[in-house]
Symmetry: C2
Subunit: 345 residues, 2 copies
């Protein structure tokens, strides 16, 4: 049995999305147990309204809620009994194997980092996400915004935690690429060039620089960038997918002929929509912490929230954290920079 702690109050819509998402999820995963954290009375009422199955869903009261726009440091200081904080405490105390929240990203990261701490040797946690790529494969990309400025050492740590997560979930050594503006070794900013040198000397399966278009080709499994570049890349992808989707829609609605075509094309269009449905890729992973924390998009619906729960469930089931901790220790020990203070400088 895998137990997930759920911040039931988080997200733009709170219980209206999290409860049906949780119900859908436990019906799909017979070996999952959920602890819903938040306003006890409201949660029980919502569960009743959603006709939730008994067993496998329990409730833990938390009196506070972190607001979506609350300053992370204030939430950390003043909201010690928030649904978010209590859910993460459950992971810390071993009652749950993972926590999931659709709440305030900054507050969730600050809280998770404060409560769980980072894996030894990892200076900062990163945000990672699996994206769809060619032939049904997936590409893990990190950091997606937790760290705007990064040192070459930190970027190398991101490469390591990303590689170890991919390995834990997919049982093969992933190809790691450094997001850059050209495939030649000498490209990029000084930080990126130094990172290149560190990665080349690591025990990772480093395939060199990759460009933005490589994210989708399936030729790289783990794409490493700082949080500034990674976040802009992710948002650009989200924007492109949305724009292209609405363009297709417009062109199918252009005239009677195209509208008739749309009817006939419905099966293919549904398959297409289903395959690239952003809700299926909703779970953002807080990586590098001593605990599994998954962030759902704040504005997602119940389907999207259920997919965030799936992401946490699979990580917990694969025992990814123990594997990552062990892998990180081995990778860091093998780095040349472990022998000298600053090999890359």
């Amino acid at each position: 049995m895998i137990t997930l702690a759920v911040d039931a109050m988080g997200g733009d819509a709170g219980l209206a999305v999290t409860i049906p998402g949780c119900v859908a999820f436990v019906q799909r995963q017979p070996n999952a147990h959920l602890i819903l954290v938040g306003d006890e009375t409201a949660i029980h009422q919502a569960l009743k309204n959603a006709d939730a199955p008994s067993g496998r869903i329990s409730v833990r009261h938390a009196a506070q809620v972190v607001e979506m726009d609350e300053a992370p440091q204030l939430a950390l200081k003043n909201k010690k009994d928030s649904s978010m904080r209590v859910a993460i405490n459950l992971v810390k105390e071993g009652e749950a194997q993972a926590a999931v929240s659709a709440g305030n990203t900054g507050a969730l990261m600050a809280t998770a980092r404060f409560v769980l701490k980072t894996i030894p040797g990892i200076e900062r946690p990163a945000i990672a996400k699996f994206l769809p790529a060619a032939d049904g494969s997936v590409t893990l990309i990190l950091d997606l915004g937790a760290n705007v400025d990064c040192t070459p050492q930190q970027l190398t740590q991101f490469a390591i935690i990303g590689s170890e997560l991919f390995q834990a979930l997919h049982s093969r050594t992933p190809r790691v690429g450094l997001l850059n503006i050209g495939s030649e070794d000498i490209k990029g900013s000084d930080t990126v060039k130094q990172t290149f040198a560190l990665l080349k000397n690591s025990k990772l399966n480093f395939i060199g620089n990759v460009e933005g278009n490589d994210i989708f080709t399936g030729k790289v499994d783990v794409v490493v960038a700082d949080g500034f570049v990674g976040n802009i890349t992710l948002k650009t992808i989200e924007g492109a997918v949305k724009f292209i989707g609405s363009t297709i829609k417009q062109e199918f609605q252009a005239n009677l002929l195209t509208k008739l075509g749309a009817l006939a094309a419905l099966p293919a269009l549904k398959r297409f929509k289903n395959r690239l449905d952003p809700r299926k890729f909703n779970g953002a992973i807080f990586l590098g912490l001593r605990g599994v924390v998954v962030k759902s998009h704040g504005g997602t619906d119940e389907t999207g929230f259920a997919f965030a729960l799936e992401e946490a469930y699979h990580e917990a089931k694969a025992d990814s954290l123990a594997k990552i901790e062990q892998g990180v220790a081995e990778q860091l020990a093998a780095l040349p920079s472990a022998d000298s203070d600053n090999a890359a400088a």
Copy 2:
């Protein structure tokens, strides 16, 4: 009559693409005159094979060709009679109003900068491109890779030249946005924050930070980033468009039902493909130089090359360079940093 100087030898396929592209273009634009620069004999032969109309296409001999992978500085030093260099010389000498090349990007930029120089007050040229956005609008994004590391002053200069180009081509004051990881004023790296302050105090129509997804919404006209972020963003978009296109194709070929649907959907799919055809957005603009230079993708086909010619033609026709030079002078004079040495530091 607008005269364009064309590097006929540049690009992965050279004359096989440039000549038919030029022929298609002059047939479409009755007021365009082309000077094709390169191996005289080969060009005349290719024109003959392509059944090119006489008049409006002339040929200028150049004995050398810059290789696609040649080091820019070596090309600059050793290839003074290259088709690329001679085409840019024609702009410098006023024989042509713009130059177009599908050749080596780095060499073209180095040569253009050396021969034409930058507009007074602009430290470095940038690469800019129009991308399709919602409701048939376009968004200009720069820099796309000419400058990996930029100062806040240089990013502000990019905002100015981008804004002035947009204004010259679209006859309205564009909304300028700074590509960042959040829309709040305080987001981003130190450089980005300082750029924000400079732009806020400028006379530009600065709408603040924009995110990756805003590129496609039509809510911003000019998106400013350094060349590292801009290039990764552009490549990511190209990759996403290609990936989504091939996913649609796959789903329409999934089974007999979807294949029949594809037949019926053909009119809409064609409209869609035509609207987002990357060849229509092929012309990358070298901006900030004292001359109009447009770079075609090296691997494009004749249709794409003809669109790069169109881009150069419209810039020349709009007298964009004179307008940009005047606009830059006015914008720079209005910047607070013109009064003190380093207002943003």
